[in-house]
């Protein structure tokens, strides 16, 4: 015995092993979310079926709430670095940056997830069961499926899956090395692929969207990975900070770095659904269960932009002049494609998907400005703050809009064809009015959050010298306004076709989601300053 342990000790000594130190307190928001996901899996295994729904919903809400509190707690004792330019520290052996922007994005993600959980848990609309497939393994249209449906069986696994996705998103936006970022990308993607295929109604389209999302997602993450490989080849490290050092110590561009940067951009731009990597978005948004679509549209964008900004500002900030032209083109292209193709859409969910693409373009416009906190004067906002504010504003609006889509129904479930929305303004003035309000926010009409957020990214882009892009963005906003207005016309000024749409009365859960979405859209449009202040307090990325 004695000799064995000494052997072990010598082996360990020879391996020069650093015992990892992990500040669990700092990482608690992340750990709570993953923990809740694991508990959820255990609940699936051991709790009786009829209790699972209640337990899972409560667990999800509780976990996200606790995590949110943890974010606030961690945020309150962040230490400032470099004369207040940034705050926070690098944790988990350098893998995770717990800095101001990370916490801001974590908080945003958690709030969005909280209201999305309510959408996931909605049971009134389908007559007492959730909008997810009763038995995903049963073939659509078979006796087994009908039986599962009539027995009120539902897949409560969606809650742990969602928790894993949220955890992945939080990690993705705060990862401080590219390897962790890649793992996080997969952690957030896999549950989403699965969730997309779990619609109760129109399961063929749903499964198809899962397949498309999966294949294209895997394809893009392969690009991301190869990009990481090349950047690693250039810098010899995965750490963003060390890459930055390598970048700034190199004179002249390196082809390895440029190729790696471009490939990584492909992967990240795919996730934010920027053109020309947007092809999956309309299909997936349309096919996925609407609650999942809302979740993806808001949260994936937040996480992916968090990661995009971190990689490009922290690791590749030194070669800003090399990637800015590329991003100019992509921003212009994304806005143009999103706005122009949306005009031809006849399905509400597809239209919202194209709108989401166009918004990705506006976000990239803000990102291109690349104005750092130290470069701006007085109360002016930096690019990072502008983009973060945009994400908050857009997320609330888009979740609200998709929540409205879930309540407009006919006999076959949600009715998303535009012509079926004709006359909604008379049928249900409140619902139609709220939806019109969301559309006006998407179009960027003042007194909505869409206006202030567009304004923020435009100023940061212009201040960064990208004024031609701002002009393009403005023109595209006009084009985009056309199709938003078209929907308003259909809802308010067209005669209903046939029976017209009916608006199901949702439970308190969906009502809360819609109310929060509308309220935040209004509040951020009228008094956005607190959120700007919060973003300012968050400061810049830690290096």
């Amino acid at each position: 015995m004695m000799s064995q342990s000494t052997v072990l000790a010598t082996v360990l000594a020879a391996a020069s092993f650093d015992k990892p130190t992990i500040a669990y307190g700092r990482l608690s928001p992340l750990l709570v979310v993953f923990g809740i996901a694991l508990v959820g899996v255990v609940v699936e295994a051991f709790a009786p079926r009829e209790r699972r729904y209640v337990i899972q919903t409560a667990l999800a809400l509780l976990g996200l709430g606790v995590s949110l509190l943890a974010v606030i707690g961690v945020g309150l004792d962040l230490k400032t670095n470099n004369d207040g330019a940034s705050r926070g520290s690098v944790e988990a052996m350098g893998a995770i940056a717990v800095d101001g922007p990370s916490l801001f994005i974590w908080g945003t993600l958690l709030v969005f997830s909280l209201i999305c959980v309510l959408l996931f848990a909605e049971r009134h609309l389908e007559g007492g069961i959730t909008a997810f497939a009763g038995q995903a393994a049963a073939l659509p249209g078979t006796e087994a499926e009908r039986e599962a449906s009539s027995r009120g069986i539902e897949h409560t696994e969606v809650f742990p899956l969602m928790m894993f996705a949220i955890g992945g998103m939080m990690l993705f936006a705060s990862a401080n090395d590219l390897l962790t970022m890649f793992v996080a990308l997969e952690v957030l993607s896999l549950p989403l692929y699965l969730l997309c295929g779990l619609a109760r109604r129109r399961r063929l389209i749903s499964q198809e969207s899962a397949l498309k999302y999966f294949l294209l997602g895997a394809f893009s993450s392969a690009f991301f990975l190869y990009g990481i490989a090349l950047v690693y080849g250039f810098a010899g490290s995965f750490r963003l900070g060390e890459i930055d050092t390598a970048v700034s110590s190199t004179v002249g561009g390196s082809s390895l770095l440029l190729a790696g940067m471009a490939l990584m951009a492909v992967g990240l731009l795919f996730k934010v659904s920027a053109a020309p990597f947007h092809a999956w978005t309309p299909d997936v948004y349309q096919g996925a269960p609407t609650a999942v679509t809302a979740f993806m549209a808001a949260c994936t964008k937040v996480a992916a932009f968090g990661a995009l900004l971190r990689v490009f500002y922290v690791a590749l900030g030194g070669v800003r002049w090399d990637w800015q032209p590329m991003m100019w083109v992509i921003a212009a292209l994304t806005m143009a494609i999103g706005s122009v193709i949306a005009i031809t859409q006849t399905d509400i969910k597809r239209m919202l998907a194209y709108s989401s693409i166009a918004h990705a373009g506006f976000l990239i416009t803000g990102f291109v400005g690349a104005q750092q906190g130290i470069e701006v004067a007085g109360q002016q906002i930096s690019s990072l703050q502008a983009v973060m504010f945009y994400l908050v504003a857009y997320g609330f609006t888009t979740i609200g809009a998709f929540a409205v889509v879930t309540v407009v129904r006919d006999a076959g479930g949600e009715t998303t064809h535009l012509s079926r929305w004709a006359g909604l303004g008379r049928e249900a003035p409140v619902v139609a009015g709220v939806f019109a309000f969301f559309l006006l926010a998407f179009a960027g009409i003042p007194l909505t959050s869409g206006f202030t957020s567009k304004w923020a990214v435009f100023t940061s882009a212009w201040a960064g010298g990208a004024w031609p892009l701002v002009v393009v963005a403005v023109l595209m906003s006009v084009v985009a306004a056309f199709f938003y207005v078209r929907v308003i016309v259909v809802m308010f000024f067209s005669e209903p076709v046939g029976d017209g749409p009916t608006v199901a009365v949702p439970s308190i859960l969906t009502s809360i989601t819609i109310t929060v979405g509308a309220a935040m859209t209004l509040i951020l449009g009228v008094v956005p300053q607190p959120v700007f202040d919060l973003a300012r307090t968050a400061g810049e990325f830690i290096r």
């Binding site: 793992v183 699965l194 010899g236 193709i341």
Partner: protein
């Protein structure tokens, strides 16, 4: 032993895999092409690891294998589901969703 030949090989495999994803219609084959791309990336990682003389690249390759394993499970499960409904694994046959 120079690293460039290894990297060129890796880039070629990656390119062939990417072309495969674009031209093939069978979902399983498309997925295999993605796996080929991941493997190409792994080769690059391992080669760069030798180039720089640290183990980070090898760790990355290891992680990629783990990730790929999980991805394969999820992917094949999705492909199986859609196959059982449609009796076909062609990406084209799954075309309820159009522009």
């Amino acid at each position: 032993m120079s690293t460039t030949p290894f990297l060129v090989l890796s880039a070629m495999l990656f390119g062939v895999g990417a072309v495969g994803v674009l031209v093939r219609r069978n979902a399983i084959v498309v997925f295999m092409c993605v796996e080929l791309m991941l493997n190409a990336a792994n080769l690059a990682f391992v080669t760069f690891s030798r180039q720089h003389g640290n183990f980070d690249g090898q760790i990355a390759a290891f992680f990629v294998m783990v990730v790929a394993a999980a991805e394969v499970v999820v992917g094949l499960a999705i492909i199986m589901t859609i196959f059982r409904t449609r009796r076909s694994a062609s990406v084209d046959d799954a075309s309820l969703l159009k522009y």
